[in-house]
């Protein structure tokens, strides 16, 4: 038998919090996913995790996740097997069987989707993903950045429709066409990326991110239970930096090319009294400027937590008056190579800034 371990009920609570922290303000709310995974566990399904180093070269690994809009996710709740049916449709098209699943995006709700599909398919989920955080578009997956073929892919909705994208020109076309199909499906669909070989996953994925999310979530839960400061624990576990602590005094949002863009202004409290921090948001928190000076940029993780409980706060829910801590967590090296920065660096998001690693700024 494969060297896997089982996720239990309590792990789901921790994973949800950790995934939201890695969501850096986007990625959708994992709460509903947690409820679904919990329901499956109670029905006797097993969710097994395959350690990254237990991947074999000839494993067939399929990445699944939801594609759509977060607000649709909280209103049109899934039928439940969308990702699973997209995966089966792709298997039928490619005539190959998956041996393991993997998340495309560990940040937010897409950390849980593969667990649910894997429970239905009785397959393990690899402890890794394609972003190490949340990003708005599929071409930002390290799989494609490091050369995985962007086709064929499949989508499925709750009504019984499945769509195969048999051939796309590149990862940007994959995003564009999949997005169009998903919108027609009601802006919520299960999405399966092209099958990868185990060897390919080892070369392209961001490793150990499910266990990282679990570790972060456990740290928060333990700190809360022991009435310790959960934010300090998050910083310790993620080797992060406290960029700011303060109160949200202004939130501006607008839509540009389908993205929720905007700025959040925070006035300092405690040690940051007299300072202010401005976050540039585009679904996720992308740039942090403290008193005009850039202190963190994408792809490093900028995450906003409730100052007391460390509950992650998303870019859609942040409001005037929230008391927050802004944390900078270093991105995985695979997101920081020149090749990756072309796709996920500040310029890829339209900011005229060079990427400077968080570690070097402090």
């Amino acid at each position: 038998l494969r060297r896997t371990w089982k996720l239990n009920d309590a792990d789901l609570d921790a994973l949800t919090i950790g995934a939201a922290i890695l969501g850096t303000g986007g990625g959708g709310n994992p709460y509903l996913g947690k409820l679904r995974a919990r329901a499956l566990l109670r029905q006797g399904y097993a969710v097994r995790i395959l350690p990254f180093d237990a991947l074999e070269d000839d494993d067939v690994v399929v990445s699944v996740g939801g594609i759509g809009a977060p607000v649709v996710g909280i209103e049109k709740i899934e039928k439940g097997d969308e990702c699973y049916r997209a995966m089966r449709a792709l298997e039928a098209y490619t005539r190959c069987r998956a041996t393991a699943l993997i998340p495309a995006e560990v940040g937010g709700s897409n950390s849980i989707e593969p667990l649910i599909a894997a429970a239905y398919a009785n397959l393990p989920v690899v402890d890794a993903d394609g972003m190490g955080r949340a990003f708005p578009e599929v071409q930002m997956c390290t799989y494609f950045i490091y050369g995985a073929r962007p086709y064929p892919a499949a989508l499925a909705d709750e009504k019984g429709n499945t769509v195969i994208l048999g051939k796309v020109q590149d990862m940007y076309w994959l995003e564009k066409l999949a997005r169009t199909v998903a919108v027609d499906m009601g802006a919520a669909a299960g999405f399966t990326l092209p099958p990868m070989r185990g060897e390919e996953v080892r070369r392209t994925a961001v490793p150990h991110t499910l266990t990282q999310a679990l570790g972060l979530g456990r740290a928060v839960l333990e700190a809360r239970a022991r009435r310790k400061n959960p934010i300090e624990r998050v910083l310790e576990v993620a080797k992060g930096v406290l960029l700011f602590a303060g109160k949200v005094v202004n939130v501006q949002r607008r839509i540009e090319k389908g993205f929720a863009r905007g700025q959040v202004r925070i006035e300092g409290v405690e040690g940051f009294k007299g300072s202010s921090l401005v976050l540039e948001i585009q679904n996720e928190n992308l740039i942090a400027r403290r008193d005009g000076e850039v202190v963190a940029t994408v792809p490093d993780l900028i995450t906003v937590l409730d100052l007391e409980t460390a509950e992650p706060i998303t870019t859609e829910t942040v409001r005037y008056g929230f008391r927050v801590a802004v944390l900078g967590l270093p991105a995985h090296p695979r997101l920081k190579t020149p090749r990756a920065l072309e796709v996920v660096g500040p310029r890829a998001f339209g900011y005229d800034l060079d990427y400077r690693p968080l570690e070097g700024r402090v």
Binding site: L35, R36, G68, E75, K76, I77, G160, K247, R319, F322
Partner: protein
Amino acid sequence: MIRVGIDVGGTNTDAVIMERAQVVHWVKTPTTVDVMGGVLKALELVLGESGLSPERIGAVMIGTTHFTNAIVQRRDLAPTAAIRLGLPATQALPPMVDWPEDLRRALGEHIYLAHGGFEFDGRPISPLDPLELRKIAEDIKAKGVRNVAISAVFSPINPKIEVEAARIVREVIPDAQITLSSEIGRIGLLERENAAILNASLQDLGYKIVRAFSQALRDAGISAPFYLTQNDGTLMSADFAEKFPVLTIASGPTNSMRGAAFLSGIKEAIVVDVGGTTTDVGALQHGFPREASIAVEVGGVRTNFRMPDVFSLGLGGGSIVQRDPLKIGPESVGFRLTEEAWVFGGGTLTATDIAVAAGMAEVGDAQRVQGLDPTFVEAAVERMQQMIADAVDRMLLSPEPIPVIVVGGGSILVRDKVGNLPTIKPDHYPVANAVGAAIAQISGEVDRVYALANIPREKALEEARREAKQRAVEAGADPSTVEIVEVEDVPLAYLPGNATRIRVKAVGDLRLA
């Protein structure tokens, strides 16, 4: 015009008479087991002592914990069916999936999924199936259930399908009491549906309570209309409250904070409301309670009500004090304070007895606590100050000194300073929550997704504004005073047609007949 504010708490029932912005008279009486007896007593006392003729009263505003208690204690809840329109979507998480087991059982687990519901852009997910709904309604009828909550995917965009489903259910169950999720609230299916189900289960109690209040007012000779306060600090008419009792939840802390702001004239402060069993600590910003930033649970059920950010601790005038080792609360003698506390001749040592022994208050018979060891009394007083100071510290936004307004019947437990912050006890502090109820206004709200490709943003905002105002007027506001107090428009990522979620809240003064 003269208003009467009433606050029904777990320990005390307070009544206050206000003429414009002036407090004319107030009383505080113990809450009774039958509750309405206490309300009538408070009304009779406040009218009798002030000599005010009941005919001069223009309106009565009531804040009550009846409905919160019913949910928290799983009492007086009617068996309730939940019908959700959304198939084939939403099967993964049926209604009440995240409810505590005991509460779900209290309502009977009558859960149904049916076809219907909308996509984000208004397309139907699947057509409504009248036959399917009829069957469901017959099943509900056969179980003898008549309280029904109906929810549909994206019904805040288009409530028609819920209305149509209600019509079909009523054909089968003519006396059905139906709550539609689109009447309660916001985007977020589970949370909106939860609120609708809770509301449907409270309908019978709502009817009973509204009748009882009406009777109590009549018995006191008052013929003025009455209103219940909701969690955002605004009012709803008795008719409206009977239909939407769930909206009264958590109105208590909001009332006391609004009352504290009004009585003190201070708009930025920490408010400490010491009751008989608990102390609620909240923060005032611009004279309104700061709202909680995370999803609020009511009796273990997630809702998307906007609730005040309140920290509650188990310390109040009725808190039971144990010696050796020293322990204060969270157990409380509650409304039996005037029988069980030492100073009232009882045998249970309470926080009030400590305050009397320390010379901080003069209630009951001080002789009865003279024998207490002064060192012990001092230690107990210190412990109470520390408990409150810790709670205040949690709510502080900055190290800058900010006033602490202390209100509520248990305020005698608090000294002149909390930590190093000065405390203010405004005039009439023991009845701040009844004052908060008396000064409350009326609101209306809209929360909807608009496709701004089809309708210009300004037009969409205008439509939402108009509808929010209209809802406020329908709820009982004077049209000439209604104004928009909150506008939030959040563009939604990844959706075509510039989908934007617009939320507008309008508030106005109470319309008087």
